[in-house]
């Protein structure tokens, strides 16, 4: 009897000790491993070609686009560049709920990092290429507030731009009729896209962990993820249902989903993809339009796209590789912290319009904390040449005075190390952590505010709470 009692006590003790020691997952199932490998940056395929943009992978176009991206002259008040809202040091976002430029944008500024992999752009997918996307903000009265004629004149009158433009796209048309100006406008977008295509995510701590596992490493003997993050990873792969939408190596399915978000004060519920699809079909710069460089006009995404009322209120799944620097979150910056985002998905409330595709998760507050901890391990530095993360050299002091900007001839660009296409996610997992541009990048994107002499705007931006 005594022996039986002691045996029971020992067994219970051993089990309890086992529970206590078992801080990480004891092992991963083969399904979990497969899923982890599918999310691994090393599974990222090579950058897909963009046949609609003949200069997409041309280094000279990237150098030209790089200059345009940081050029505030392409705006109504000479103070707004792409980099005003897409700030390199914030993973090409602005830290605001909704973008602020000439006016206030309707939605949150998304990151550009890894965007070249997406078939759709904007939260509502109202553009279908990186280059057609780049055109819209230039003419949006709340953003750059400029127009295609001004862009045409900028390229025509800036000798450096003209020298960059003509070898890529042919002689600048002398006529300023609508068709000629539209063509130049589209080409400006194609150069900006060539630059943006080079902004790709590097490996995160999660990737280092998967790399460790792939080499047969012990799931627990590693220093990439701590116990809470490992518990969060298990939830992420399973009960939290995150990978239903945040899947693949960029942690997005590039699709549109209604997740029942509330509109911010003063705004109607976001109609999202329902209207975005209508807009992209009507966009003259879309894949099927006259400005595509693909003679086959083979546009699978646009041709086979599905419409219907289930798109009401649906917005695009964002990548989770930039969370560390891109708060506030969601399409209208509804949530300041990841904890709020996770609470929202845990509750999955009924949507105001359409219906919420997410289902309540019933996770405990500890589980939500673990999940949040894991998300921080997904944060990945940008795997691009640091030179691309600041205004081109020799350019940042000049623009407001109208002096010629960066020399962008094909020869100069091809010598530059800044235009080589990086290959993220090498299988050996040793891709280096890129040092984030600190001072240089900050001065360059703030220069796009202050160089114009529009002190009021620059001051307003600085005072905006950076939540």
């Amino acid at each position: 009897m005594l022996a039986a009692g002691a045996g029971l006590l020992l067994t219970t003790g051993a089990w309890l000790a086992g529970q206590w020691l078992d801080r990480g997952p004891p092992s991963w199932s083969s399904d979990e491993r497969r899923l982890m490998e599918s999310l691994w940056i090393a599974s990222l395929p090579p950058l897909p070609p963009d046949p609609t943009n003949a200069v997409a992978d041309d280094p000279a176009a990237a150098a030209f686009g790089h200059a345009l991206f940081f050029d505030p002259r392409a705006s109504a008040n000479g103070a707004i560049a792409c980099a005003t809202c897409h700030q390199p040091q914030r993973r090409f976002t602005d830290g605001l709920p909704r973008g602020v430029a000439i006016g206030r944008s309707a939605r949150n500024t998304p990151s550009i990092v890894g965007a070249a992999y997406s078939p759709w752009y904007y939260w509502d997918g109202r553009r279908d290429s990186l280059w057609s996307q780049a055109l819209s903000p230039l003419e949006d009265p709340n953003e750059h507030g400029s127009d295609r004629h001004t862009l045409y004149e900028l390229v025509r009158d800036d000798p450096a731009y003209r020298r960059a433009y003509e070898p890529l796209f042919g002689p600048l048309p002398a006529s300023t009729d609508a068709a000629a100006v539209d063509r130049v406008f589209a080409n400006v977008g194609k150069a900006i896209a060539a630059y943006e295509r080079r902004l790709l995510p590097g490996p995160s701590r999660f990737d280092a962990y998967v790399d460790h596992l792939s080499r047969g490493g012990d799931p627990r003997r590693q220093d990439h993820l701590d116990a809470s993050e490992l518990r969060g990873l298990r939830l992420f792969l399973g009960p939290a249902r995150c990978t239903e939408c945040h899947n693949g190596p960029l942690l997005t399915n590039h699709e549109f989903h209604n997740t029942g978000l509330l509109p911010p004060p003063g705004a109607l519920p976001d109609r999202g993809r329902f209207d975005g699809l209508d807009a992209v079909r009507r966009d003259p710069f879309n894949c099927l339009g006259a400005f595509s460089d693909d003679p086959s006009r083979r546009c699978d995404e646009l041709t086979f796209v599905r419409d219907g009322v289930e798109l009401i209120g649906a917005t695009r799944t964002p990548s989770l590789r930039n969370l560390g620097a891109t708060m506030p979150f969601q399409s209208k910056g509804q949530f300041a912290t990841l904890a709020e985002v996770l609470r929202h998905y845990n509750d999955a409330p009924a949507a105001l319009i359409g219906h919420n595709e997410a289902k309540p998760l019933s996770l405990s507050s500890r589980e939500l904390r673990d999940l949040e901890a894991f998300l921080s391990a997904l944060d990945a530095p940008i795997a691009a040449d640091p030179a691309l993360l600041a205004a081109p050299r020799g350019y940042d002091q000049a623009p407001a005075s109208g002096a010629p900007s960066t020399p962008s001839s094909r020869a100069a660009a091809s010598r530059s190390p800044s235009v080589s296409t990086p290959r993220p996610g090498r299988r050996d997992g040793t891709a280096t952590r890129i040092r984030m541009p600190s001072d240089s990048a900050r001065s360059c994107s703030s220069c796009s505010n202050c160089s114009s002499g529009d002190g009021a705007l620059a001051t307003r931006r600085r005072k905006t709470p950076q939540r």
């Binding site: 109607l268 086979f304 105001l352």
Partner: protein
């Protein structure tokens, strides 16, 4: 029992004019055009949905989700007026028409606009009180109007008798509708069972097949191994129950994830190929891991059958 039709006939007036709670769904009747009607005060009560009265004052979102396609193309005009008719929740269109100056009591006017799919409007109420919403939809050359009285904020004890009456009506309504709907439910169940009985789809690594009573289909994805988030095509071989290839069939593709209650993210298209019985489905993409179904509705001559290919990604 004889009283039931009478109550139902009287019910629209009791239940706030054009807005009625039907079978758990708040419905606005604009002539014969129906929409799911709801109101929200997001800043104060988040996702809480109101149907007939709003207990809180504040910025209110009005939503009409169309239950009738006709509304997607109809210009809709929405106006909110103070309820000065003296009729309270009994106010009707004739009472509105009798008002001497509609503009004088209008607190919010949303000019006529076409809103495909869903109509939304925003108004911030500064005062508690009784209001009337007026929705006018122009369908073709006809105008349809819905008038719905509602209250904003704390309305005191005056509403209780009406609330009680509404509950009784709702309960009767509920009985009425559940009784009416029982039969079609059973029929749908039998139909679904019949449809599903014929098809089964054993999945192998590279090839998917399904066989029914009339047709047999073997499908090979162009993407090997099959992965999520990539646009690709599938090649199909269609044969009849004797194994003879079937050309010239019409094949409609649908499908989705049954567990998530959603369809395919794309609208695939099928073309017949030259080889007998060969077809190609273009424009397929699966955007989530998990169990998917590809539902092929095959029509060749008089024969028609629905085959389901199941796959796990």
């Amino acid at each position: 029992m004889a009283v039931l039709p009478l109550l139902l006939a009287a019910q629209p007036a009791l239940a706030h004019g054009g807005v009625v709670a039907e079978d758990d769904l708040c419905v606005i009747n604009i002539g014969y055009l129906k929409a799911h009607f709801k109101m929200f005060v997001p800043a104060r009560s988040g996702h809480r949905e109101y149907c007939e009265d709003i207990p809180l004052r504040g910025e209110t979102v009005f939503v009409m989700e169309y239950l009738h396609d006709g509304l997607s193309a109809a210009p809709i005009d929405f106006r909110i007026v103070r309820n000065t008719t003296g009729k309270g929740n009994f106010a009707r269109l004739s009472d509105i028409d009798a008002l001497p100056d509609l503009d004088a009591v209008t607190v919010s006017r949303h000019p006529s606009a076409v809103a495909p799919g869903v109509y939304t409007a925003l108004h911030e109420f500064d005062d508690d009180g009784e209001y009337i919403g007026i929705v006018v939809a122009q369908a073709g050359d006809k105008r349809y109007t819905a008038v719905f009285p509602f209250t904003v904020g704390d309305t005191g004890a005056g509403v209780w008798p009406w609330l009680l009456a509404a509950i009784v009506i709702l309960q009767l309504n509920f009985w009425y509708w559940t009784r009416r709907r029982r039969r079609p439910h059973a029929a749908a169940g039998v139909l679904a069972a019949l449809l599903l009985a014929g098809a089964h789809a054993p999945a192998t690594a590279e090839e998917y097949s399904a066989a029914g009573d009339r047709f047999r289909v073997t499908a090979t994805p162009s993407l090997q191994p099959l992965t999520i988030n990539r646009m690709h095509a599938w090649d199909l071989v269609l044969t009849d129950d004797n194994g003879e290839p079937v050309s010239g069939a019409r094949i409609d593709v649908a499908g989705g994830m049954p567990a998530h209650d959603h369809g395919l993210p794309t609208q695939p298209q099928v073309t017949g190929l030259e080889a007998p019985g060969h077809y190609r489905i273009e424009g397929l993409r699966f955007h989530m891991p998990g169990e998917w179904e590809l539902v092929l509705t095959i029509t060749a001559g008089p024969a028609s059958e629905r085959l389901v290919l199941s796959l796990v990604l």
